[in-house]
């Protein structure tokens, strides 16, 4: 299975190597989409976790028991195709290659699986075709 999760680290545990344990002890693949971790302060991380369902649940239990709050990511970036004018303004803004211009058609495509939810496109899209959804 594959799931995008938000992890909240209380200040007390923020410096522990959780991703290392998830990988090594629970055979999970961790793809860090967004991280905001500062020493001795509460941290927040958005990760995509993939692996066997069993391992996934055991991994989450391990996190919870260590004081890390883990919950599924509910915010997603949506591309409202009817509003998109295919102007291409977003392709140089998106840092993750999630908004791409196809050639030779010059049409813009949104690759949801590549999106790291940085939200840069929300205000950069002149037609407001990119939306944050909760």
């Amino acid at each position: 299975m594959k799931q995008k999760m938000v992890l909240r680290f209380p200040a007390a545990v923020v410096e522990q190597p959780f991703t290392y344990h998830l990988i090594k002890d629970y055979n999970l693949m961790i793809n860090i989409l967004k991280a905001n971790i500062n020493p001795r302060m509460e941290g927040r991380m958005v990760v995509e976790i993939s692996g066997a369902e069993d391992d996934f649940h055991r991994g989450i239990e391990f996190l919870q028991s260590s004081g890390v709050k883990a919950f599924p990511l509910e915010q997603e970036i949506a591309w409202v195709e009817e509003r998109c004018t295919h102007c291409g303004a977003c392709v140089i803004i998106c840092p993750a290659g999630a908004l791409v211009l196809e050639r030779p058609s010059m049409e813009v495509k949104f690759l949801n699986e590549k999106c790291i939810i940085c939200e840069h496109c929300l205000k950069a899209c002149p037609a407001r075709a990119m939306e944050a959804r909760f």
Binding site: I92, M106, P126, R128
Partner: protein, 384 residues
Amino acid sequence: MVKKTYAEINARIRAGEAVVVTAEEVIPMVRERGIEETAAAVDVVTTGTFGPMCSSGAFFCLGHSKPRMKMNRVFLNGVEAYAGIAAVDAYLGASQIPETDPANKSYPGEFNYGGGHVLEDLVSGREVLLEAFAYGTDCYPRHKLEKMISLEDMPYAVLYNPRNAYQNYNVAVNLSERTLYTYMGILKPNLGNANYSTADQLSPLFNDPYYRTIGMGTKIFLGGGVGYVCWHGTQHAPGAPRGENGVPTAPSGTLTVIGELKQMSPRWLRGISYLGYGASLMVGLGIPIPILDEEMLKFTAVSDADIFAPIVDYSEGYPQATGEVLGKVSYAELKSGEITLNGRAVPTAPLSSYPGARKIARQLKEWIQEGQFTLTEPVFTIPT
């Protein structure tokens, strides 16, 4: 020698026999069959562009109220329209923003709503809030009016764009250390990107570079409906440098266009917001080019590789009007997604929708093929 008149081409359109191709489709035809044979075969080449065109707006007659009112200030959904004309007439500009908008006070401003958005709302059939204020006269006693109004309620609504369809434009880059928010989009520091904005080989004025067939009265596709060229546009600069093919290599020709707003569609009139710059309107516009002779066909066969645009620095060159050009680059290179400048690979982004331009050229082609859209010979052509 191929010679055709407007009357002959229109007769063929009415008979459903006209051969119409888009400015994209004509390129491989010429490659295969040559200029002369293609010129003999093709009657009309259609063009299109769908891009941000700030110099756009609409004249409205808002209708008389009881008692009557001479409106001095008019707002539509909070966006002011110019009311310094007769009693209930006003002009709403696409780039106007509400007085309550913080603009760039919180930099970069978002400009979520402006005149362009009001136009989009109106052509979408939505009601907008009309607020009007007046000093009151003996003949027009009313001081204030507030009501919801739709496009249908207005006795008169005409799109009138003083400058559209720019023939070529700058490629914008940023040589400075900080991000710039411009009408050419977001420009990342240190040559982070290069933004350009034309419909390339489909763009109307690239296909008739000396405006042989374009002038007052030329019937066009405008905002999803039918419109007309009514003058050359503001900042029309036909004297710009040109390549051997006649195509300008700097911003040059522009058009003033007009059309009945009530037949237009939100698909081709779209309110847009440029971060840190302002509100604007994406306008869809297409011009049919009659193939009067081989020369016209040759003009319409121009392709991206033969059209060049100037690269301009928007941290210094443009705002300070130094006139400095960093180099020239072809639209084929720009469209590839990357250009080389100062020895660096710079990613490119268009701001004008090429897929939109293609759809407009195809739509216009269909209208002509179906016999419902004939060509008009201009009363006079715009200055060259």
